[in-house]
């Protein structure tokens, strides 16, 4: 052992850490880009692929559909009641609808959909993909002439994106209906005014930012857990540390997207 060995040891550990960190992001971007190219390639949706694609779409969306819509309706109802009552108390009822649409439809619901899809579908699927890799199934597919990126990863990513879009649209629709019913009751006379309020919120900039935010959130929640492959740790046989690392990267990206969307909406 030379006197410089502790310093060298620390430097090597730092280098390895930052190298893995950068490699992880590169992996996400590189394979993510490949998946985007594949997603826009018609050959990815040929008849032989379609069955897998349908299966993944269904398994990503159907189990969440009823439970998530019910849960989001309940949360929306609570938020709507709080906002409407508070607005009435302070004599600001004309701002209540705008606040509700902005908080629920634009911010809370897309974020909650992202997290639910991540926890209920993409994170478990990502773990499965990592186990398949560990078992060498991907190499075997390559050898047998298949393409695991197209056959295994793409259906899962497309299913994740689809689930986020469908659940966000459905929960947004339910929230809008509940907001109308909470403010106007079961009458139709308030519909023109309500539509006008919705139109005021969804100006071109807000609409564009909302669509982009939902798209990037769905991509992040679909690509990162499935593509990112932390280095195998012999001290972590259950893979819990790897899950935490995936979750940390996912949260980082979600936070970044949220911040950017807020900047786009309100600055």
């Amino acid at each position: 052992m030379t006197p410089l060995s502790p310093f060298v040891d620390i430097s090597q550990r730092w280098l390895r850490f930052w190298g893995e960190w950068l490699l992880g992001w590169w992996q996400i971007l590189y394979i993510g880009a490949q998946l985007m190219v594949l997603a826009f390639s018609p050959s990815s949706y040929r008849t032989s692929q379609r069955k897998v694609m349908f299966l993944k779409l269904y398994s990503a969306t159907a189990p969440l559909l009823a439970s998530y819509v019910l849960m989001s309706a309940l949360v929306s109802l609570i938020v709507i009641r709080i906002v409407v009552t508070t607005a009435l108390t302070y004599g600001l009822s004309h701002f209540a609808l705008e606040v509700l649409i902005r908080t629920l439809v634009l911010e809370l619901l897309p974020l909650s959909v992202t997290l639910v899809v991540a926890i209920r579908y993409t994170m478990p699927e990502g773990k499965l993909v990592r186990e398949m890799r560990a078992r060498g199934e991907f190499s075997e597919q390559w050898r047998s002439g298949g393409d695991p990126t197209r056959d295994e990863l793409l259906p899962r990513v497309v299913a994740g994106v689809f689930a986020v879009f469908l659940l966000a649209a459905l929960s947004g629709f339910v929230a809008l209906v509940l907001a109308y019913l909470s403010v106007y009751g079961f009458h139709t006379w308030g519909f023109p005014g309500y539509t006008r309020s919705v139109g005021q919120v969804f100006n071109p900039v807000i609409s564009l930012v909302f669509c982009l935010k939902t798209l990037f959130l769905s991509l992040a929640v679909s690509v990162i857990p499935i593509v990112f492959r932390p280095r195998a740790d012999p001290n972590d046989p259950t893979g819990a540390n790897a899950e935490i690392k995936v979750l940390a990267r996912l949260f980082t990206v979600i936070l970044l997207i949220e911040v950017l969307s807020l900047i786009g909406n309100y600055y």
Partner: protein, 346 residues
Amino acid sequence: MDTPSIPPKPVAHLELKARLLILLLLLLMLGAVAYVMVARGVFERTQKLVLVADDSEGIVVGMDLTFSGFPIGRVGRIELSEEGNARILVDVPLNDAHWLRTSSVFTMESGFVGGTRIRAFSGILTDPPLPDGAVRKVLRGDAKAEIPLMVSSVRELVANITALTSNDAALSGSLRNVQTATEKLNGASGGLGLLFGNETDSKKIISTLDRTNALLTRLDKLAVTADGVANKTGSLVTKADGIVSKTGTMITKADNQIFGQSGVMKDAQATVVQLNGLLADTRNSLKKVDAVLVEAQAVGSNVKDATTDLGVLRAEVESSLRTVDHLVQEINRKWPFARNNELKLP
């Protein structure tokens, strides 16, 4: 970890279900796009209204133009005119355009809470409708603009209060004087000491008060005496009242007797009329006498012949004189010519 992955459970009608989900998503997305377009008024037929304001602060594209609290138009564009004014281009749907008339007034208000609001007021709805592309000046009312003025006033007020409450201020001096006065009030000499400033003068006042009290006691006694006198005077006055009332009655009676229906005055007037008649008769008689005398002189020579006529004439004169004498006596009997004819024996 080397266990091969378990194949997923087969799903009945998988393709149909998946297609339904895709269809649902497409419907939701297309519906959302269509709804937002309707909500933004993309499919509405509109007419233009140009509002000219000196400042476009607080105005944003998409904000409403309201009439009686209902949105009837939407700001579509804001531009700067060649005169340096803000031109706010409002799209008013044709369905709602009938609320705007040529006499409509437009205001732009900024409250303390919330954004700027543009309002339309149409007082006379029978006026001609506002034409497409009409340019109107918007009246501006900005509550926030009052804040600097208010702050300046408050600052001035605070400065005045500070000046009032400073140690060398008049108010402070007055308060000190009040404190001194209060101390004097609470002191041995009390309020009189406060009024006169020294104890000697206050003692003089007290002795004056004592003397005044004594004087008042004497005045009380005098007042009692005066009360007795007043009582007597009262009885006298009562008697005088009785006399006066009696006198009044007498006067009334006298008045009735003199000026009443059968009063003396009326009799006197009738008597005077009669007297006037008698005097006229007398004058005529005397004229006749004069004529007779003239005739008597003319026929002096024939006296003897006329003795018979003279005797008759004389009888007439005597008769007239008796009448006069009787009349004079009657007058003398009446008031106020009556004489006391009563004979008083010694």
